[in-house]
Symmetry: C2
Subunit: 136 residues, 2 copies
């Protein structure tokens, strides 16, 4: 049975359950930062997913990316699966601005953090169009 | 016309021309580090590729990942498209070891670099099975 990693659970807010993945919002208001976690037990690498799951992961990643580019203001999208600290497979989507604290370096391992206010989380969750774009 | 970014060209060795991408070896012997660059002009984000190109990018990424896991020794594969410094779309595949200089942080922006010897580059290039797995 799939169980979300405890650190991912602690550091994020749930946004939506997509066909393959849980979509999470990283609790760091410095960056628009969404994370896809395939509901597959024991998977740590993208290439361990079977072909159908990989196709679906990239479909969901594309939809998240397009939505982020439409909804947030940023200069560059960073997409990556690292997993050096949390090994459960998870795919980051981080909107980067040239005036953000970590630019041009990566956000992972950078200390700057601002927690969201509850109403900010609700605004993002309610704006996410999962009911139309992501069914099926 | 597609032209490889000058910094990518300077910091890598060409390994193979795959159906969509140039496959490059990062000139840093600390990590097995391969980079896919789609031969598409003016593209900076994965989600700007059309559907067929995205499918092909992920197919090539999968084949590179599986080959790296088979050929090199590492504990975790980091896959990511950042582009904060070099905006031309390029997708990193970095094999990470728990005793590598940047672990558990990301390699991007980490200063440790060891240039390859020419014979090491040739060994990696000749081991890459592009003639069988990557045609078509």
């Amino acid at each position: 049975m799939f169980k979300l990693d405890e650190r991912l659970q602690r550091d994020t807010f749930p946004v939506a359950s997509l066909p393959l993945c849980e979509l999470l919002l990283s609790n760091n208001a410095h960056y628009p930062w969404l994370i896809l976690v395939p509901r597959r037990e024991g998977i740590t690498e993208i290439h361990q997913l079977d072909h159908a799951d990989r196709d679906q992961l990239w479909r969901e990643s594309h939809q998240v990316s397009v939505w982020m580019a439409d909804h947030f203001q940023f200069d560059k999208l960073n997409v990556g699966a690292l997993g050096n600290v949390v090994s459960q497979l998870h795919l980051h989507h981080v909107g980067r601005r040239k005036d953000d604290p970590a630019w041009p370096g990566p956000v992972w391992g950078h200390g700057a953090t601002i927690s969201y206010l509850p109403e900010q989380v609700e605004e993002i969750k309610s704006a996410f169009p999962w009911t139309t774009a992501f069914v099926g």
